[in-house]
């Protein structure tokens, strides 16, 4: 039985205080901003307005991702613990939520700081946005209250709501995720609208349709209504603004349902799982490295494995969601899409490829290291060199720049016969990159499969046939993906973007689904040939977990710069021009330097929060020799 200590009470009051502060700020934003008619921008001391907003927004987003991502898998792990009656799962889920609690108040605090900075530095922008999104801001605050109280009930009611109340506790966990997801969806409307203030005709409200029609007729008086409507289909891109005055023509829902809203929602939802998992894994790695006892090491090895597993579950579908987002950006504005992948941000995507390459190589390395502590996993070791070679070659192709004109000398270009290498230049094209991404994903999935099979012997009498089918599915899948990739060189970009690449994605997903189903049935009654020796993981592998967490975080920072930078000199793309001194997209190196500074601040804050948690637990750890850790040390995954 747990009692609410005075420290806990203080923490609750602190959180409620921050939430109320946020509510007050959101309530006064429109009025406050309207009164600042003479000040379009105000400088932030020392570091400038843009940097201040950048730091606060990115930190808020990182902490927000963590507190939204962790409950998603915590509730699933709790459910597994409830159904399997294995208490260690329940305890691990509770430990995840404790980490979440520590980060919650920091998220609220950073949100408050961000609003302060925006109100002070960008009153006109905020006034414009709140004029359009006012109702959603109130809704956001209501959701935040729901999230806060549900999280506290969920966390502090954990021990009390065991046994027959467990179902209700799980319901709270699900509710917490509903609040959290809704919060993210609402806040995503504001920033996605800034990037893509347009939607498709079929999604427009009647009011917006009429407003757009009138505006179009006033711009083209020679046309009639029928002539205008004749040219329009449900997928026609419709700007939500009067092109000349910038006046908003639609309803709140039109602005909410803008081009990039749902792709960003899904991308972030999956990304939060991957990010949350990686941070939890890094926490476990840290605890593993500083652990004094075998039991502790066993516990945190197990936790790190689960964190990494969750991160990989998020990482594998993430490129698909990213692809959808990219496609929507192209559909919204072709120039913006081209700018993103082929011009201003093309080198950013090379760095992204380096980072994702590190993530995949690191995740695979961790799995292979993990197989070292499973008896009977040796038989898979012979495949490792081939898999390493495949991943490295694929990542190399992924990192190939589109042209070398920016990094090669005139003599080098003459020797090459142009700014593109005559053969390797082909790898710089999107069709090649899409192909290798799918192959890397399938290779990582294969590592998973080997890990899952390690130490087990299938008893199904059709196991040989099953293995042949699985191998054939993998082989055929890869062949189809490569063939589609080769065809992609010869077709128009429209066909590639809208037909071929989605097919590649579907083939990769189909392979994973089919193989998983066959494998589950094959190993349903498998015998165990060796146990997992938890705690015998190498120290190197723990450093890899930390590397993955930092890379995930840096990647989020980098892509945040890309998403925001795509607007270039606009607060709201094509509608509200940025007339401040910062009305340009900063250079890549400057942006990455800023991301680096944010990373240092983020990890310093996370480290401090984790350290606070550790501090409180020290006495308890001395007093309670963990039975649970012993159980893990003997158990399986």
């Amino acid at each position: 039985m747990r009692r609410c200590t005075s420290q806990t009470k203080k923490r609750i009051f602190l959180i409620i205080g921050f939430v109320l502060l946020g509510f007050v700020l959101f309530s006064i934003v429109p009025a406050f901003a309207q009164d600042m008619t003479d000040a379009e921008y105000r400088p932030f001391p020392m570091i400038g307005s843009r940097n201040a907003a950048w730091i606060a927004a990115q930190l808020h987003l990182l902490f927000g991702s963590f507190i939204l991502g962790v409950p998603m898998f915590a509730v699933i792990i709790e459910f597994i613990g409830w159904k399997t009656k294995e208490e260690r799962y329940d305890r691990m889920a509770q430990e995840f939520i404790k980490l979440c609690m520590g980060a919650f108040s920091t998220t609220a605090l950073l949100g408050g700081v961000l609003v302060f900075i925006l109100v002070w530095c960008y009153p006109k922008v905020l006034s414009k946005l709140s004029g359009i999104f006012g109702p959603t801001m109130i809704f956001y605050v209501v959701l935040f209250f729901g999230e806060t109280f549900t999280l506290y009930l969920y966390s502090y009611g954990w021990d009390k709501m065991q046994g027959r109340h467990k179902g209700w506790h799980l319901f709270l966990g699900v509710l917490l995720n509903i609040w959290g997801t809704a919060i993210m969806f609402v806040s995503n409307t504001w920033l996605t609208y800034q990037t893509s203030p347009a939607t498709q005709y079929g999604k427009l409200s009647d009011q917006a349709k009429e407003g757009w029609l009138e505006h179009t007729l006033s711009q083209n008086p020679e046309l009639t209504r029928a002539e205008v409507l004749k040219e329009v289909t449900d997928t026609t891109v419709i700007n939500l603004h009067n092109e000349t005055t910038g006046e908003f023509l639609g309803t709140v829902m039109d602005a909410v349902n803008n081009f990039t809203w749902m792709p960003v929602n899904i991308h972030r939802l999956i990304g939060n799982i991957a990010f949350g998992g990686s941070i939890v894994a890094a926490y476990a790695a840290f605890r593993f490295l500083v652990a004094k006892t075998k039991e502790e090491k066993a516990h945190y090895d197990w936790m790190g494995y689960n964190g990494n597993f969750i991160a990989l579950c998020g990482l594998i579908p993430l490129p698909f969601a990213g692809y959808w987002l990219g496609r929507e950006i192209y559909m919204f504005n072709n120039t913006m899409g081209v700018n993103m992948m082929g011009a201003l941000f093309s080198w950013l995507f090379i760095i992204q490829a380096v980072m994702i390459g590190i993530l995949f190589i690191g995740a695979n390395y961790y799995l292979w290291s993990g197989m070292g502590r499973i008896e009977g996993a040796e038989k898979y070791a012979r495949y490792r060199p081939i898999m390493i070679a495949i991943i490295v070659i694929c990542v190399g192709i992924w990192m190939t720049p589109r042209t070398l004109s920016s990094i090669s000398s005139a003599s080098e270009q003459t020797a090459m016969g142009g700014s593109n290498h005559p053969h390797l230049g082909l790898f710089g094209l999107m069709t090649a990159k899409n192909t290798v991404v799918n192959i890397v994903i399938l290779t990582t999935f294969l590592s998973f499969l080997f890990y899952r099979r390690s130490g087990k012997k299938p008893t199904a009498n059709w196991k040989k046939l099953g293995n042949i089918i699985i191998s054939s599915v993998f082989f055929l899948g890869v062949v189809v993906i490569v063939v589609i990739g080769i065809v992609g060189f010869a077709v128009e970009s429209d066909v590639r973007v809208n037909v071929l690449t989605p097919w590649q994605v579907l083939v990769a997903l189909a392979v994973m689904v089919v193989v998983t189903i066959i494998d589950i049935f094959m190993y349903r009654k498998a015998t165990t040939s060796g146990t997992i020796k938890w705690g015998e993981m190498t120290e190197r592998s723990q450093y890899v977990l930390i590397l993955l967490a930092i890379t995930f975080t840096s990647l989020m920072g980098l892509m945040g710069y890309a998403r925001s930078g795509l607007r270039e000199g606009w607060h709201i793309f094509g509608v509200m021009k940025d007339t401040s001194a910062d009305a340009f997209t900063p250079s890549l190196s400057s942006a990455v330097n800023m991301v680096s500074i944010i990373m240092v601040i983020f990890f310093a804050l996370v480290g401090f929060i984790f350290w606070l948690g550790l501090w409180g637990e020290r006495k308890k750890q001395k007093a309670v020799p963990t039975m649970e850790s012993e159980a893990i040390a003997e158990g399986n995954d």
Partner: protein, 514 residues
């Protein structure tokens, strides 16, 4: 001995940590390599690597992990520092120095690769794989041969302003109009890009050109438009009739085909005759009169709405002097009446916004400064953004427009009016506080008819004269129609009408003779 070793270790640890932090910050700040005397020693990235190695050896696990984490972050920054840098910060082009065409082309190149985003689709390398748009490595040379009769510069100008006009075979209509949002290149920037394109295998031609577009379409007119003298007068005459200008404006010799039919879209009023309009006015005035009808109103044709002693008069302002105005009103049966109204009889209206009072037609002002008990009332003499000078009796008095006591006139849904000095809240808030008869009273805005209630900063007498002409002609007429209309109006010097009248009378004579 051991103690000395321990001190050495501690110093080494501190030095390692300091070097780690300093070199990390210096690297991010792009500081020059660490100098000793006048010679550079090592780049900061190398110092950072040394610090990482040192700290990994001398420190315990916690600092070791911190160092490792910082090293990973630094690694990504290092990759970003290696790859080519691109930014849209190409600066603002305010003028081009045509005495040095190569320098102009350099600016054009920066725009080509930056703000203009041209390099996203166009290559400058014949050996490059086929891009989305044509390769431009020899465009300065072959632009002259693309279209018969078009020189290179004309071809480039037309291609940039209207990209779909000339399509190179094998390429689609994907190029955006770079002068429009979101790329929104200015004329100077386009000139620089054209100079750069001409430098690719050709000669740069510095001859200035007029933009073949209307920048008002994007709401950001960067420069004054050239006079619209390129229209067709005959087409303009058709526009004058079709756009119903003829319903109000008379031109001798031009008949209104719909005379007497009235117009559903706007009220037909008596407007100035235009037979000789171009004889006494510049084209720019005609253009302004169509785009901004209120900018200058011909005496005797302005439309006014005034309230005097509770009676509203809406009609044409016939005449005005320092004491009175004459307003001609028209009854529903068409009967016209002229009313002489003393300016002193005009009713005061509440004023919410104190900006540009004179421009909005206010003659007098009654205002209560924040530190005064009684209001100041007088004729408006002059005003600035923050103050207004009033003629009070024989003296002038300057008062602030900002620090004023506001007067609230609140009307509830039963029509009950409450007037008092405003304390806090607005009509958009949940409640509003005012002082009535020395007592502070709070009103719930849900109980107030906010459409009819007023929160006024002052009150004053107003005489706002407007043109009765609709102000949406810029929206109704296309660029071409506007040019044609102006071309037609510019022919109206009186001579045309005389000729037409003469022709008409001679025709009549001939008919009679026959």
């Amino acid at each position: 001995m051991e103690e000395t070793q321990s001190v050495k270790n501690t110093l080494l640890k501190i030095a390692g940590l300091l070097l780690l932090l300093v070199s990390f910050i210096a690297f991010l700040a792009k500081a020059p390599a660490f100098p000793i005397g006048s010679e550079n020693l090592l780049p900061w990235s190398v110092w950072f690597l040394i610090a990482v190695l040192l700290n990994m050896f001398v420190w315990g696990i916690v600092v070791k992990l911190m160092t490792y984490a910082l090293g990973v972050v630094w690694f990504f920054a290092l990759i970003a520092a290696w790859v080519p840098d691109t930014s849209t910060n190409t600066g603002t082009v305010t003028e081009l120095d045509w005495s040095d065409p190569d320098a102009v082309a350099e600016i054009g190149l920066a725009i080509f690769n930056g703000k203009g985003q041209c390099s996203a689709c166009h290559t400058l390398d014949t050996s490059a794989p086929k891009g989305r748009c044509p390769d431009l490595s020899d465009i300065g040379n072959n632009a002259a041969n693309r279209e018969p009769g078009k020189d290179a510069k004309t071809y480039l100008i037309e291609s940039l302003y209207e990209p779909s006009k000339y399509l190179v075979p094998g390429y689609g209509k994907i190029m955006p109009e770079v002068w429009k949002n979101p790329i929104a290149l200015t004329k100077l920037e386009i000139e620089a890009v054209i100079a750069f394109l001409q430098s690719q295998g050709g000669e740069i031609d510095p001859t200035p050109f007029d933009e073949p577009i209307d920048r008002k379409e994007i709401g950001t007119a960067a420069e004054a438009l050239p006079p619209l003298l390129t229209g067709d007068p005959e087409e303009g005459k058709r526009v004058f009739i079709d756009a119903a200008c003829i319903s109000c404006h008379e031109i001798q010799g031009l008949e209104n085909p719909k005379a007497g039919e009235g117009n559903e879209d706007f009220e037909v009023v008596t407007a100035p005759e235009l037979t000789e309009i171009a004889a006494f006015n510049e084209l720019r005035y005609l253009e302004e009169s169509i785009i901004l009808p209120d900018a200058e109103i011909v005496s005797g044709y302005g439309s006014v709405t005034v309230i005097a002693q509770g009676v509203t008069y809406q009609g044409t302002l016939v005449s005005q002097d320092t004491e009175k105005i004459v307003v001609r009103t028209k009854a529903e049966d068409g009967t016209e009446t002229e009313h002489t109204i003393l300016l002193s009889d005009l009713d005061e209206e509440p004023i919410e916004d104190l900006t540009d009072l004179k421009g909005r037609g206010y003659l007098t002002l009654t205002i209560t400064p924040i530190d005064a008990d009684a209001p100041v009332s007088g004729e408006i003499v002059e005003e600035s953004d923050t103050t207004v000078t009033l003629k009070v009796g024989d003296e002038t008095q300057t008062v602030s427009k900002i620090d004023v006591k506001k007067q609230a006139t609140l009307i509830d849904f039963d029509g009950v009016k409450t007037v008092g000095e405003h304390v806090s809240g607005t009509l958009d808030d949940f409640e509003i506080v005012i002082i009535v008869d020395g007592n502070e009273e709070t009103f719930d805005t849900f109980d107030i008819d906010t459409d009819n209630s007023v929160l006024a900063s002052a009150s004053g007498k107003r005489l706002e004269v407007k043109s009765p002409m609709p102000n949406n002609f810029p929206d109704l007429l296309s660029f071409r129609e506007m040019a044609d209309l102006l071309a037609y109006l510019s022919t109206l010097t009186g001579a045309t009408a005389e000729e037409e009248t003469n022709e008409a009378s001679s025709d009549t004579q001939e008919e009679v003779t026959e």
